[in-house]
């Protein structure tokens, strides 16, 4: 078990090292998010929305920015291996589940970095006041995990296909939409300190992410082996 974990960490570390040399994925993630945020902030600004609509509408905007930024950059994890023809070597060097866990960790780190930069900026620029900051952070973390799990397996699928860029969004979005609904609801609840709704949506987010994790762990070796 510890060996498996060490190998998965090694795969993630390899990817992160390669990523910080070129910063292709991180640049596309962060720059996409910042551009969208600038557009949203410029057109709506902190005062345009009425007080009772604020928590809900701002949660919607926040998650839309995060989702589309994730869809712009998270496919790199596997596409990069195919483009640089390093996938066969990785297949020889590590077991499929190790590769899956490593790539998942790598995507998770990317999405957490994105959130760490984007969310505070979003709150400041849009005047998004959160009543329960720790619970807000928990929703963000759970959502980031769900997002990373789903995009990891989809990235593995589309790396084998021909038209990669558009296909990644097309395949990811239907699987992510239910998650998006729960995340928006959970974020709104954390912003307005509605504890019951918060608990219910966090449960939904975690069970959805959990189900995706289990299914991807079983299905990934099938995708990766071919």
């Amino acid at each position: 078990m510890s060996r498996w974990l060490a190998e998965a960490l090694a795969v993630a570390a390899k990817d992160l090292r390669a990523e910080f040399r070129t910063r292709v994925a991180l640049n596309s993630l962060v720059l996409f998010a910042l551009t969208t945020l600038a557009a949203v902030s410029y057109t709506i600004g902190p005062y345009r929305l009425s007080t009772e609509d604020r928590p809900f509408l701002l949660s919607v905007l926040l998650w839309i920015v995060i989702f589309f930024a994730a869809l712009a950059g998270l496919d790199r994890s596997f596409v990069k291996e195919e483009e640089s023809h390093t996938a066969p070597l990785l297949r020889l060097a590590a077991a499929p589940t190790v590769v899956w866990a490593g790539k998942l960790l790598y995507n998770l780190v990317l999405i957490m970095v994105l959130m760490a930069m984007l969310v505070p900026l979003f709150c400041v620029l849009m005047g998004f006041e959160i009543a329960m900051p720790w619970r807000f952070a928990a929703v963000l973390a759970a959502g980031g995990f769900g997002l990373a799990v789903t995009t990891t397996i989809i990235a593995a699928i589309i790396a084998q296909a021909m038209t990669r860029g558009a296909l990644f969004s097309v395949l990811s979005l239907p699987l992510l939409l239910p998650l998006l609904i729960f995340l928006i609801q959970g974020t709104t609840a954390a912003a307005t300190s509605d504890l019951d709704t918060y608990r219910e949506s966090l449960r939904a987010i975690l069970s959805m992410a959990g189900a995706m994790t289990i299914f991807s762990a079983f299905l990934f070796p099938v995708v990766w082996r071919d």
Binding site: I157, M162, L175, I181, F182, E200, S207, V222, D226
Partner: protein, 223 residues
């Protein structure tokens, strides 16, 4: 076999004609609905049913493909996904027409409308993925994996999203309100229509499978 097939096709023709006649002429319009709008239920519910059934068949066939690796399961998954897309579009359109008459707008993101949209997106994505992979075996594997992943979202869409949002949609599956039930004549026509649409889609499905098998054989001959 051919004779039985012909008889069944004629029987289906007469059956569907009977269903259409009953839905428009025989049955009186249901109370509590505007004008003749309730009649659309005899076409909306069966198309939605077939769309869901096709999704289920596609997922089961995908699972079987990953297990057994036989091309016939991939054909079954692909053909039922194509049929499912067609029927999902029909269900969405008939539902939107009914929503316009009864609730005033074609579209208002009712939970049922949300879930049928996601089903449509899943079918479209599945078919887009199939068209983006050249190698038949790889295509079958990747499509099967995607199909199973898509199935993970179903319980969330069916049971959890409707709990979050209020729905105007009449609840067909878990109807506890006795006033909201269909009377027996309506139920009979609806069940007849369900049977007819299921029969029709089985026929379409068998045609699709035959086409896929011919394609497969031709590819084998070329290679």
């Amino acid at each position: 076999m051919n004779r039985v097939g012909m008889t069944l096709k004629w029987f289906l023709f007469v059956w569907m004609a009977g269903v259409i006649w009953a839905a428009f002429l025989w049955i009186p319009s249901a109370q509590g609905f505007k004008g003749e709008s309730s009649r659309i239920v005899f076409f909306h519910v069966p198309t939605a049913w077939v769309a869901t059934l096709a999704f289920l068949v596609s997922c089961i066939a995908s699972g079987l493909y990953l297990w057994r690796r036989e091309p016939k399961y991939d054909f079954a998954a692909a053909v039922s996904a194509g049929l499912g897309l067609l029927y999902a579009v029909l269900a969405t359109v008939t539902g939107a027409v009914f929503a316009k008459i009864m609730w005033g707008a074609y579209w208002n993101w009712d939970p049922r409308q949300t879930s049928i949209t996601i089903l449509l997106l899943i079918y479209a994505a599945y078919l887009a993925l199939r068209s983006a992979v050249d190698d038949p075996e790889k295509r079958a594997t990747l499509a099967a994996v995607y199909s199973i992943l898509a199935f993970v979202t179903v319980p969330f869409l069916m049971f959890i999203v409707p709990r979050i949002y209020f729905s105007l949609h009449p609840d067909v599956m878990t109807n506890a309100d006795p006033d909201n039930n269909l009377d027996s004549a309506h139920l009979r026509v609806l069940l007849a229509s369900l049977a007819g649409f299921t029969g029709l889609s089985v026929w379409l499905y068998s045609i699709g499978i035959r086409i896929e098998e011919i394609r497969y054989r031709r590819r084998q001959e070329v290679l």
